[in-house]
């Protein structure tokens, strides 16, 4: 089931045809949604199934993801919007939303919808998800210490806050914060992504 590297699919995440596809989605071109799925469906599913670890639930969440993109595409800038990054963010957020209990959501989880605002997805690096970037992020992950790698996985695939990680790992919150900060710095440095 996990035979192909995700890098293969991430190659498809940013192509010169993005603007045209966004334009067609906005025009409600019936074939555009199918093409959007062909481009990003496997990526969205791969991320979500890694998070929820249930194929059936993952498919439901992928469906939610595409419907959300379909209904909100009007807000994405046709020329400057990065539909691939936006869609992957929405996919991950759907899985996060599923993973979080109502209590957890109430306690500390931010409003994920705010992170999905289309205006945040314009003027991104066009080739942020190009294949060599994907290879380099995997390589960068290998340079992290086991604890650093663990907190990044907790953060990305389980959506744990630093407090949750500290509790899960039985470590002081300050230690976890140090690991998270160091891990992000390593990844950013290895990937050549500018610091915020």
């Amino acid at each position: 089931m996990f035979a192909l590297p995700l890098i293969f699919f991430l190659n498809l995440l940013s192509t010169p045809g993005d603007a045209e596809l966004v334009e067609r989605l906005k025009r409600r071109d019936p074939k555009a949604l199918g093409q959007l799925y062909d481009r990003f469906g496997r990526v969205a599913y791969s991320v979500i199934v890694r998070m929820v670890r249930d194929a059936s639930i993952a498919e439901d969440l992928v469906q939610e993801t595409f419907l959300r993109v379909w209904t909100r595409i009007g807000s994405l800038d046709t020329q400057k919007g990065s539909i691939g990054v936006w869609l992957v963010t929405i996919a991950r957020n759907r899985a996060l939303d599923y993973l979080r209990s109502a209590a957890a959501r109430e306690r500390h989880a931010p409003d994920l919808e705010k992170i999905e605002r289309p205006s945040l997805y314009q003027d991104l690096e066009n080739d942020i998800l190009r294949s060599d970037s994907s290879r380099r992020v995997k390589s960068a992950m290998e340079k992290l210490s086991p604890n650093q790698r663990q907190v990044i996985e907790f953060a990305y695939f389980e959506g744990l806050s630093q407090s949750d990680m500290a509790e899960r790992m039985g470590q002081p919150l300050g230690t976890v914060k140090t690991w998270v900060r160091a891990a992000l710095n390593v990844l950013r440095s290895e990937m050549g992504v500018a610091a915020p």
């Binding site: 996990f2 199918g34 194929a55 989880a109 705010k114 992170i115 997805y121």
Partner: protein, 251 residues
């Protein structure tokens, strides 16, 4: 808090794991158009997106694409039962009224299906559309069960302003690579394609073709089995033919 104090939290915000008060502060900065925070969060989003590539590649089922397109109303190929009680109630109503007479256990079946109503969107709107067509003042209703030598059975509702609704039972799911295609057949001229659909495993199907219909100029609504891509003109014998014998507004 100022932007400098929030810088270290942009990554956590982009990952959806920022805690308070920083989370609300960043959201507030973005809300009021703070350019420094917007750029910072965008850089964080780029890094976050890269982490997607660390997930092992996995393959969804072959039917997911079709399910998504159908639920978006782009192609009505399968009837994806909706996730909310409103959909359950709407479905129970449709099923009880239009299948119930022929199948006494349809109500029980609808209740059983309620348990499946999770995580899917779009169907409520589709059922509302169906109910709007059924209850429309100028809707013409045609039973295509009568005179059929064999199943499928069911009804077609044609509303001049809203479109065509087909409800069928005893319609076995189309085989792999095939789908059902509905046709609006004018009194003169060629049949017009009216959308592809698939029936459920239990043989039921609901298909809506939206848009205006010239009822007076329409002779019949028909269904044929076609390739998955659909056909411009029917290529097989009709499985369903509903003759529109009564004038519009005849309900």
């Amino acid at each position: 808090m100022n932007c400098e104090e929030l810088r270290d939290h942009y990554d956590l915000y982009a990952l959806g794991i920022a805690e308070e008060p920083e989370c609300s502060e960043i959201a507030a900065h973005l809300e009021r158009g703070c350019e420094a925070c917007r750029k910072g969060v965008q850089k964080a989003i780029e890094l976050s997106a890269l982490l997607a590539s660390t997930a092992p590649a996995a393959e969804p089922s072959a039917g997911l694409r079709r399910r998504i397109l159908a639920s978006a109303g782009v192609e009505t190929r399968r009837f994806p039962w909706a996730p909310v009680w409103a959909a359950a109630a709407a479905f129970a109503l449709v099923a009880a009224v239009y299948f119930g007479f022929e199948y006494q256990r349809a109500g029980e079946e609808a209740l059983r299906l309620e348990s499946q109503l999770r995580q899917e969107h779009g169907e409520v709107a589709r059922l509302n559309e169906a109910l709007a067509i059924i209850s429309g003042p100028n809707t013409q209703e045609t039973d295509f069960s009568a005179g059929q030598p064999r199943p499928p059975r069911g009804k077609v509702f044609v509303n001049p302003g809203q479109g065509v609704l087909l409800i069928a039972s005893n319609l076995a799911p189309a085989p792999l690579g095939k789908l059902y295609e509905m046709w609006v057949i004018p009194k003169t001229g060629k049949p017009a394609p009216a959308g592809l659909f698939q029936s459920e495993a239990n043989g039921t199907a609901i298909h809506i073709q939206r848009g205006a219909v010239d009822v007076a100029a329409t002779a019949a609504v028909a269904v044929t089995l076609e390739s998955e891509q659909g056909a411009a003109q029917p290529t097989s014998q009709p499985l369903i033919v509903a003759q529109l014998s009564r004038p519009a507004g005849g309900r």
